[in-house]
């Protein structure tokens, strides 16, 4: 092979969400720094992830309302093996599964908390990280 000019291989791309007609308001909310949840227009229950029908009362009418960013740790994992190369430089990273005050769960990276401080019930708060001009992803910090 001839001496190729030194070039950095393209950085692996982050997997990105493909919003659907149902979920678009959730992603729009994150981009605006707001935790928006789908609520049934009839019985009022919040549901996540977004879907067309309320599984409690079967209404197809829903509204989107901002929900509090507070929650408590339900469980967590520490990801060491990067199943996608994009995450290789971040590993190990903590992903916390959080019971949000609104009654749904959010799975997102938890930053700034030591592994030995992680416990069920620990209070955390949802924060927002813009990763492109269109997409903002959630993460957690200690409350």
């Amino acid at each position: 092979m001839s001496a190729a000019p030194t070039s950095t291989p393209p950085a692996p791309e982050r997997p990105m969400p493909t919003p659907t007609r149902e979920s678009q308001p959730y992603w729009d909310g994150l981009r605006e720094g707001r935790f928006m949840l789908q609520h049934c227009a009839k019985c009022g229950k919040a549901r996540h992830y977004p879907r067309p029908v309320c599984p409690h009362c079967f209404s197809m009418e829903s509204t989107w309302r901002e929900a509090p960013p507070a929650g408590r740790i339900h469980s967590w994992t520490v990801c060491h093996h990067p199943f996608n190369f994009f995450f290789k430089s971040m590993a190990p990273y903590v992903v916390a599964l959080v019971d949000m005050e609104a009654g749904v769960r959010v799975n997102a990276p938890l930053r700034g908390m030591a592994e030995d401080a992680l416990k069920i019930g620990a209070p955390v708060r949802l924060a927002f990280e813009p990763v492109t001009k269109d997409v903002t992803l959630p993460y957690f910090v200690a409350a």
Partner: protein
């Protein structure tokens, strides 16, 4: 209602039998396609049953990946296929397929149904790529992949961690499942992992997704497997001892496509399927002589033993200790080496091993006088399936 349920359940009891089993070599590295592996295993299973490919009139191939009904007609010359079905339940597929096959042969729709898997999990696409083919993973792809959660190891790790926090389950318990499964694999001539594994080696293996280390995770391997389900009254005349399906059921959890939103991370489809399968079979956990438990992860085995009623919720860790799940123990499990050490063909190898155990054809891993055994499937974010088989002749 209860009486009606009972009569429905009993309509299937022992009406179907596993009449043939076949598998390829389990390897890491093959030049064969997934379809070729699947067909090789299928031909072996058909031969094992004493049938000709012409006798197969139903096919349930693992999906996605591998062949479809058209491939089986084209390759095996099936003259009159009466049933083509997919069971899109990930790791719960193969045992759930026993239920569909049993319904087909019990009602006379089919005489002999072929269930088969061909997988190039090592030499072909790996797990994080394969999962993209599953429509059931669309939610995870939208909401969890972007934040760094893709693989089952990561998605199931949070449930394992919660079990540890709530019940005091430890990685020593996980290691016991890995070590015993390896001991069993070494007795089997057709396995990927054939060297002894110690608890220390388990604990020293690299972390994948805490609390799962490398040796808590099932293999990425290549291989094919197949079984034939026939009507019991016909299977009686075939070559091998009659192994009937006493009870079989599938179950689907709440929040089926997202573990994250499931009210209880430790309750999944098997919790619903188990009482139905035991009810149909008319036996309970105490009657089970040998169990092949879907072992995508060590912890998954512990969790399923609880949901099956072999022990109480939270007691699965201590339950697996002290030789209980090893050959010679009260409940030998994964006597072939499982997905952890034999090979990953989505658990159809578990059905094959249970059939061999009940035929008393399991070689050095034979559980003495095995009469009744159980096999589970688990996957697709928490679907579950379970079958109870019996040596009836």
């Amino acid at each position: 209602m209860a009486a009606e349920d009972e009569s429905m359940a009993h309509a299937l009891r022992e009406k179907a039998a596993v009449s043939g089993v076949g598998e390829t070599a389990y390897t890491r590295g093959t030049t064969q396609s997934g379809l070729a592996l699947q067909l090789e295993a299928s031909l072996k299973a058909i031969d094992d049953a004493g049938l000709s490919p012409r006798d197969i009139d139903g096919v349930i191939p693992y999906f996605p990946g591998g062949g479809i009904a058209e491939d089986f007609i084209a390759n095996l010359g099936l003259p009159d296929l009466a049933l083509s079905a997919f069971i899109p339940m990930g790791g719960a597929t193969c045992v759930a397929a026993l239920q569909t096959a049993a319904m087909a042969v019990a009602t006379g729709v089919c005489r002999n149904v072929l269930i088969s898997v061909g997988r190039t999990g090592y030499s072909g696409a790996r797990v994080s790529t394969r999962l993209q083919q599953f429509p059931q993973f669309a939610l995870a792809a939208e909401f969890e992949a972007p934040i760094g959660m893709f693989a089952p190891a990561q998605l199931y790790a949070q449930g394992a961690r919660r079990h540890m926090e709530l019940y005091g389950t430890t990685t020593r318990h996980f290691a016991e499942v890995a070590v015993v499964t390896r001991q069993h694999a070494i007795l089997n001539g057709n396995v990927v992992m054939n060297k002894p594994l110690t608890v220390e080696e388990h604990h020293a293996s690299r972390m994948i997704a805490d609390p799962f280390r490398l040796f808590d995770c099932s293999l990425e391997s290549d291989g094919g497997a197949a079984v034939i389900v026939s009507a019991s009254d016909r299977a009686r005349d075939l070559k091998k001892p009659l192994i009937t399906i006493m009870g079989v059921a599938e179950g689907h959890p709440e929040s089926p496509a997202s573990i994250a939103q499931r009210p209880d991370l430790l309750e999944f489809g098997l919790a619903k399927a188990a009482p139905r399968a035991f009810g149909m079979a008319g036996v309970g956990p105490k009657e089970i002589d040998v169990a092949e438990i879907y072992d995508c992860f060590t912890f998954t085995v512990i969790n399923q033993l609880e949901l099956l009623g072999f022990c109480k919720k939270g007691e699965g860790g201590p339950f697996v200790m002290d030789g209980r799940i090893a050959l010679g123990g009260d409940l030998p499990i994964n006597t072939h080496g499982g997905l952890l050490s034999q090979g990953h063909v989505v658990g159809l190898n578990h059905v094959i091993e249970l059939t061999r155990q009940l035929r008393r054809d399991a070689g050095r891993a034979q559980v003495k006088d095995a009469e009744v055994g159980l096999v589970t499937g688990y996957g697709d974010m928490g679907d579950g399936s379970v079958a109870i088989l019996r040596r009836s002749a």
